[in-house]
Structures are given as structure tokens and as C-alpha cells.
Amino acid sequence: MATAVELERAHGAGHGDDHGHADHPPTSTGLDHRKLLMWAFLASDCMFFGSLIATYMIYRGRAEDLGFAPFPSEILDIPYTSLSAFVLLMSSLTMVLALAAIQKGDHRGLRIWLAATALLGAIFLGGQYFEFTEFYHEGLSLQTNMFGASFFVLTGFHGAHVTIGVIWLLTLLFLSLRGGVKQEDSLDVELAGLYWHFVDIVWIVIFTLVYLIPYDEVTETQTGAFTYLAGILRGVASIF
């Protein structure tokens, strides 16, 4: 008797050509259901990040405006975070290698690169944990000022994404070690990869907006509508 997963796939169809089961009926778009689902989910996730980035952009100057230290300029450590951003970017490379390996049927390669990706992700998370505790010791908490609140919520939300990604990668690694990830299941790896690359790209946006671009007094101290509209539009636009 077939497994439920098989049934669902067969029923849902679209496993299509890379699977070698040509008898499954094709999907209308030719794309696999799960791949399309991942893309649609990531579009939605853009809006989650967009809303948080907009919030950050609106509030990040408030600490200076009200004189509530610590300010972003004092506390953000660009070289340190550049390093962890680099680590995360490298993990996208290892992720690509993991997918390439399983597509060629190279199970050992898959395991090595999955482990490497998960490890790099974990290093990034460790770096974030260290950064957060460091900031906390320097007096920045969720409650200190608007910069702290919006910074921790935004980067924490991203960190939660990375955490889920690492757990997902480790699960795949575990399944692969038990022989559960076949060459024709490369889509399972590809989906995790899509998610992982997305989380990386979002980090580039966050890194640029939060760390690299300094807070510009002239344009942002004005209050009223345009702060919001500009902040919101920039937040949403930045993500695309």
C-alpha cells in the first residue's frame, strides 16, 4: 500500500519530469505544487519583514530625538556584524552545493554540505546571541528606547527564521543519514534551499538598512505623515 505522502503527491500531481514518474498527471503551470507553495509563502513573508522594517525605519531615529541612549551609531558594531553576515552568505553557497550533490545522486556530498550549511547558520545565530547579550550589557534592551525595541524585534524575527532553517536542515541531514532522501527527492532539499536563500537575502536588506546606512538627521526628524509614508514605502520597497 502506498504511503500517504506518495498518495498526496500522486493525487496532487506535478511531481513531474524530474521524478521519472511520467504517469503522474502534469500540473497546469508545469511547476510542482510544493515549489509554488514555497514561492507564495515567501511573497507573504516579504510583507512580514516589510512591516517590521518599516517600523524600524520609522522609529530608529527616536532614540536620538529624545536623547535616550544608547543610540544606534554608538552601539552597532559594523565589522563584527559584517563577519557574521559573511558567514550567512557563505551558507547560501554550501546550500547550493548540497542541492547540486543530491541532484547528482551524491549522498555523501549532500550530507557534508547540509551539515556545513547548518553549521554556518548556527555560527550566525551564535553571533547574534553574543551581539544581543553584548548590547544588553551596554544598556540596550527592548524597553530602553524605540531603537532597542524595533531593533530587537526585527533582528529577532530574522533570527527565528534562521533557527527554523537550521532545524529544517538538520532534519534533512538526519533523514538522509537514515537513507530517507533519495535522488528523486531532491525537491525536498530544493525547498529548504529556497527558504534558506530567502532568509539570507533578507539579512542583506536588514544589514544594509540597520547597520550600514547611518541615521540621517535632516530627513528624518520631521514628524507627521511623511515620516510614516516614506518609512513604510521604503520598508516595503526595500524588500523587493
Binding site: M1, A2, T3, A4, V5, L7, E8, A10, H11, G12, A13, G14, A22, D23, H24, P25, P26, T27, S28, T29, L31, H33, L36, L37, A40, F41, A43, S44, D45, M47, F48, G50, S51, L52, T55, I58, Y59, R62, A63, D65, L66, F68, L142, Q143, N145, M146, A149, S150, V153, T171, G224, A225, F226, Y228, L229, I232
Partner: protein, 669 residues
């Protein structure tokens, strides 16, 4: 190429018999709990949402009873706040949205010729999360802490400093949970519609209801994140001492007012960036329903189909660019007000196009005013009234008068009740035969319609006058000599009549389920694929996957008149219905035929695959529920490492993780 006039698996009553898939335990309580069948999930949505419609209705009757006399004290003003908040929240999130979902679930796979949705277990998960979200909101009544801040939850009224109880927490977490349900369901429908259309059903041959479902789902997926984040920030304010929406606090120690830097306006922005698309989430499915019904009972295809599709897409797109019209009176300044006034007026254009198309569809048609048609035409007329008052308060100076007055209450009831609810009732009468196998009684249906129509206008039209005479929104009382009582009494009496109209409806359903006329496959002489299969449909829906060659496939099937001798592919086929030409038939392309052949081959080989029932969606949803519940009742707590989590939240997260793993690894052999 072979003859194309009679392709192998053509749309139409399937005659071919197919081995029925083994369905053990397919009746009884547990089979409903573990079901992944889109039709059952649709019914579950429908029944649950109807129950909430009644609850929301009773809340409305309490509101109207309070306002029937000046200085009335039927309920306290604090309770009154809870009643109008829960009424709005219930109607929007627990009645109208899930009623639309019920139709999406039951009808969409049938309309596109599919055997289920793309992710059946995700579908079950969506329902259960919705169920638990509703439960959280309902439990607030039992905890004597129903939300009391209005359905829009304006800060800082929602902040701890003003709202110390759990009321807001029930609301915020209830909505978070409902948001998960909506996003999950919408992702599923986007993929289903894009990927599971029958061979030959190109995008521009999809029924209009399928189109509006697709666009509504995209709106949900793109708009809900804004409110999710807004609510999360609110919860941070309430649980973690941030001040995202708090500009100042009073510091007990120094006895001074201290600036915090937060801003209540951020809430309004995030809320309305979600909120305006939300009103289209509420109305577009309704537009889709009447776009199915009006052609069938005018015996003409929909006028301007393509324009209808583009208008829907335009409305959805513009819907993201008008949110500030809810904030004209917050002092954003003349420039934003002018820009958003313009975009608001602009959005009335595609909306007007739709009205025009429906009337043109009826123009010259053979009109048959059955109950579904009555409700549909009522939508067209009543929505126009609501649309016009909408455009009126799209103008900032006029809105300064309307804002927070009963005039706005009149507006959104004309669009929501006169629009959404009328269409949902129309859809119920139209598709009830497909759900149940029996027709709803027409004579009772007409009574139901006319009572509803009259009562609706008696209840809501006077609210325009009340608003212009100065009755504010959300006030549980008014003064003796204010001159407002007359219209309040009229409105309240109308609301009792409206309540009565629902009794007629329920009586009709009860009677018709027992004794209603048997429906057969196609009781209305319909045009779309759902009418090609038995009522109620078998579990696998289509014995043979249909091939679609026309926008109105079943009409083409029934009325196509082939000209000329042979069925050569150059020949156009002309379809006429009741003597009216409904268009040239499109010859199926080779791709479609090939797809059809491959599907037929797959069918033969494995018979029909149906997904197995599963407990995991329910388990996972239960995890979500417990996690949210724990945040509301933050005690008892359990320390985990550096974290100090509420016990139920920790337990919920464990159940959630177990559910996700059980689900993705589920072996069913």
C-alpha cells in the same frame, strides 16, 4: 490530428465507471475530525461560520435594544463596548470570511475540474486553526473579559495603561491565530487554482468565482502580515514593556510624564494597510458569487468577462493604496489626504465597471427571478448605495463630518450586509442543491428574501439620517431631547425583523433537507463544471477528468451547434442558448488534449488517488491554540533555560513541533 469535436474526456455527466477508492470509516464523528476532503471541510467551515453569524447577530440585537430608548441601561456601557467590539470582530473574521471559505472549499475544486485541493491536509489544518481562533475569541465571554476596544483596536486604548484586563489579549491572540488559518488556506487556494485546473481551462476560461477566489487569496496572503506584525508589536507592548504605540507614560516614581517615543498612528497605518484590503477580502468573493448566478438566471454569458477579471485585479491592486482614507481626521496634512482621496475615488471606477457588467448581463436576457437571482440583484442595488456613501467619505472635508458617526455605520453595512451577506445567501440558495442533493424551497426562499430585503433597509437606511443628525458611532446611549429616538426605534424594529428573517431561512434549510425536491446534477441549467457531476458529489468528484474548451463548458456541451458536416478543426462551433448566441467555441489546443490523455492514462493505472484522513492537522492546530492560550493566561509559568515561558505556551510549542514532524513524516501504510 484526430477529430476534436468529441475529445475523449469531455465535460459532461461522466458515464465511465471507475473503481471507487477504498474509503473505510467514511462516516461518523472521527471521520469528520480527520477528514481532508475539501467538500467536508467546506461544510465544516459553513456550519461553524453560520453559528458565528447567529452569535454576531444576537450581539447586534443587544446593541439595537440598548439604543431603542434614550438613556437606556439594558447593558452597562462597559458591556456595550464589548458587544460592539465582538459584533464587528465576529462578523468580519468569524462569519463573513469563513463563509466565503466554505464556498471556496466546496466549489473551487469542482469548478476547475479537480479532485481535491493541492494540499488537503493543510486545508484541514486551516479549518482547525480557524476553529480554535474562534474558540479563543468566544472564551473571552466566559472569562468575563470580552474585547472592548473596537474591531480596529486603536492604540493607545489597547495598551495596558488604559486596558488592564485580558480583554485585548483575547482579541490580539485570537486574531493572530485566525490570521494563521487565513494565510494557510489562501496559500492552498492559490496553488490549487494555478496548478489543478482541468486540461484546457486556461486562466481566461476560469469561472469568475474562481478568479475572485484567486485574487482574494492573494490579497489575504499579502495583507494579513501587516496586521500580524501590528498585533505582535501590541503584544510586545502589553507583555514585554515596549512602547511601540505609547508616546508618553506617567512615571509613578518621579510623578512625571515621560516621553517614550512610540506612536499610536503607527498602529493605524499598519492596521489599515491590512484593513482596506480586508474589505475587498470580504466583498470580492461575493462579487464572484453573483457573477456566477446572474448569467445563469439571465441565460446569457457574463457581459465583459475579461473586463470583469481586470476590474477585480485592479481593485485588489489599488486596494493597497487607499488606506489613509480611514485616517483623514488624524491630521496627516493636506497632501496625503489629497493623494489618498484621489486613489479612493479611483477605486470606485473598476467597482462601477462591475455594476455595469452585471446590469448589461441582465439586459436583454431571459430573466428568471429565483431566490438566488433575487439576492444577487439585491446585491447589485444595495452595494451601489454603500459604494456611493463610500465615495462620499472618500472626500476629506466630507469625511470630517462623517467620520465616527452613524453615517459610516450605514455605509459599511450597505457594503457588508447588502453586499457580502446578500451574496453569501444567494450562493447558499444556488449551491445548496450541490451541497445536499436537495433544493431549498423556493416559496419560503422568496419570503426569506423579501423579509430580509425590507428589514435590511429599515434597519440600516435610517442610520444615514442618524449620522447626519449627529449620532456618534460606538456610543451606548443618547440624550432624551436629542431628537434621535425616532430613527433609532425604526432601526431597532428593523433589526428584530432581520433576526426573524434568519429564522425563516433556518426553517427553510431544515425542511428542505428532509423534503426538498431532489436536485439532480444540474437543477439550474448551469454553465460550469460543478453541475456536470452528481449532487452531492462523490468523494472523488469527477470520475473522468473533464476537458474544457469553453468559458462556459457545460453550456457549450449542452447547446453547441456544430455547423457543417464533419467536425474538422477549422470549423467554428457556435453555441447558442435559448436562441442567443453565446460565442464561438474555442477549439481545444493540442496541449490540452495531450494533458487529458496523460491524465486519463494515470487514472487507468492507479484508479483514483485520494489522500488519507489524518490526525496531524488537528494536532498541529491544537499546538497553535495552546501556545496562544498560554500567552493570554500567562500563569502557571515554567522556566526553560534563560526563558520563563507560560506553561501552556511551552506545551503548545511541543505539540506544534510534534504535529509538524508527525505530519511531514506521516507513514500511512
Amino acid at each position: 490530428m484526430a477529430s476534436v469535436a468529441q475529445p475523449a474526456g469531455h465535460a459532461g455527466p461522466a458515464t465511465q465507471t471507475v473503481a471507487r477508492p477504498a474509503t473505510k470509516k467514511n462516516i461518523g464523528f472521527w471521520s469528520w475530525i480527520t477528514t481532508v476532503d475539501h467538500k467536508r471541510i467546506g461544510l465544516l467551515y459553513g456550519i461553524t461560520a453560520f453559528a458565528y453569524l447567529l452569535i454576531g447577530g444576537i450581539e447586534a440585537l443587544v446593541i439595537r435594544s440598548q439604543l431603542i430608548a434614550p438613556n437606556n441601561d439594558l447593558v452597562s456601557l462597559e458591556k456595550y463596548n464589548q458587544f460592539f467590539t465582538m459584533h464587528g470582530t465576529t462578523m468580519i473574521f468569524l462569519a463573513v470570511m469563513p463563509l466565503s471559505s466554505a464556498f471556496f472549499n466546496f466549489i473551487i475544486p469542482l469548478q476547475i475540474g479537480a479532485r481535491d485541493v493541492a494540499f488537503p491536509r493543510l486545508n484541514a489544518f486551516s479549518y482547525w486553526v480557524f476553529f480554535f481562533g474562534g474558540l479563543i475569541l468566544s472564551l473571552s465571554w466566559l472569562a468575563n473579559a470580552a474585547p472592548n476596544q473596537g474591531w480596529y483596536g486603536y492604540a493607545p486604548l489597547t495598551e495596558k495603561g488604559f486596558n488592564i484586563g485580558r480583554n485585548v489579549d483575547f482579541w490580539a491572540l485570537g486574531l493572530q491565530v485566525l490570521g494563521i488559518a487565513s494565510i494557510a488556506a489562501s496559500l492552498n487556494f492559490i496553488i490549487t487554482i494555478l496548478n489543478m485546473r482541468a486540461p484546457g481551462m486556461t486562466l481566461m476560461r476560469m469561472p469568475l468565482f474562481t478568479w475572485t477566489t484567486l485574487i482574494t487569496s492573494i490579497l489575504i496572503v499579502m495583507a494579513f502580515p501587516a496586521i500580524t506584525i501590528a498585533l505582535a508589536l501590541l503584544s510586545f507592548d502589553r507583555f514585554a514593556g515596549t512602547s511601540f504605540y505609547i508616546p508618553y507614560i506617567y512615571d509613578e516614581a518621579t510623578r512625571q510624564v515621560v516621553a517614550r517615543g512610540g506612536d499610536p498612528l503607527l498602529w493605524q497605518h499598519l492596521f489599515w494597510i491590512f484593513g482596506h484590503p480586508e474589505v475587498y477580502i470580504l466583498i470580492l468573493p461575493a462579487f464572484g458569487i453573483v457573477s456566477e448566478i446572474i448569467p445563469v438566471f439571465s441565460r446569457k454569458p457574463l457581459f465583459g468577462y475579461a473586463v470583469m477579471v481586470y476590474a477585480t485585479a485592479t481593485i485588489a491592486f489599488l486596494g493597497f493604496g487607499v488606506w489613509v482614507h480611514h485616517m483623514f481626521t488624524t491630521g496627516l496634512g493636506p497632501t496625503p489626504n489629497a493623494v489618498f482621496a484621489a486613489s479612493t475615488m479611483l477605486i470606485a471606477v473598476p467597482t462601477g465597471v462591475k455594476i455595469l457588467n452585471w446590469t448589461s448581463t441582465m439586459w436583454g436576457g431571459q430573466l428568471n427571478f429565483t431566490t438566488p437571482m433575487l439576492f444577487s440583484t439585491a446585491l447589485v442595488s444595495q452595494f451601489v448605495i454603500g459604494g456611493i456613501s463610500g465615495v462620499m467619505h472618500g472626500s476629506p472635508p466630507i469625511d470630517s463630518q462623517h467620520n465616527d458617526s452613524y453615517f459610516v455605520v450605514a455605509h459599511f453595512h450597505y457594503v457588508l450586509f447588502g453586499g457580502s451577506i446578500f451574496a453569501l445567501l444567494a450562493g447558499t440558495y444556488y449551491w445548496f442543491p450541490k451541497f445536499s442533493g436537495r433544493m431549498l424551497d423556493e416559496r419560503l426562499g422568496k419570503w426569506h428574501f423579501w423579509v430580509t430585503f425590507a428589514a435590511f433597509n429599515i434597519t440600516f437606511f435610517p442610520m444615514h439620517f442618524l449620522g447626519l443628525e449627529g449620532m456618534p458611532r460606538r456610543y451606548g446611549t443618547y440624550g432624551e431631547g436629542s431628537g434621535l429616538q425616532l430613527w433609532h426605534v425604526v432601526s431597532s424594529v428593523g433589526s428584530y425583523l432581520l433576526g426573524f428573517s434568519f429564522l425563516i431561512f433556518m426553517y427553510n434549510v431544515a425542511v428542505s433537507l428532509q423534503r426538498g425536491k431532489k436536485a439532480g446534477n444540474d437543477p439550474w441549467d448551469g454553465a460550469t463544471l460543478e453541475w456536470t457531476i452528481p449532487s452531492p458529489p462523490p468523494v472523488y468528484n469527477f470520475a473522468t477528468v473533464p476537458v474544457v474548451r469553453h468559458r462556459d463548458p457545460l453550456w457549450e456541451e449542452k447547446y453547441a451547434k456544430y455547423e457543417g458536416e464533419g467536425h474538422a478543426e477549422e470549423e467554428t462551433l457556435e453555441t447558442t442558448i435559448a436562441g442567443i448566441k453565446i460565442g464561438e467555441g474555442q477549439v481545444p489546443d493540442e496541449d490540452a488534449l495531450e494533458q487529458a490523455e496523460r491524465r486519463a492514462a494515470a487514472d487507468d493505472e492507479h484508479n483514483i488517488h485520494l489522500p488519507n484522513p489524518s490526525y496531524w492537522p488537528l494536532v498541529t492546530a491544537l499546538g497553535v491554540f495552546l501556545a496562544a492560550f498560554g500567552l493570554i493566561f500567562s500563569y502557571p509559568r515554567i522556566p526553560i533555560g534563560a526563558l520563563d515561558l507560560p506553561l501552556y505556551t511551552a506545551a503548545g510549542l511541543l505539540v506544534l513541533v510534534a504535529g509538524v514532524y508527525g505530519w511531514s513524516l506521516e507513514p500511512a501504510s
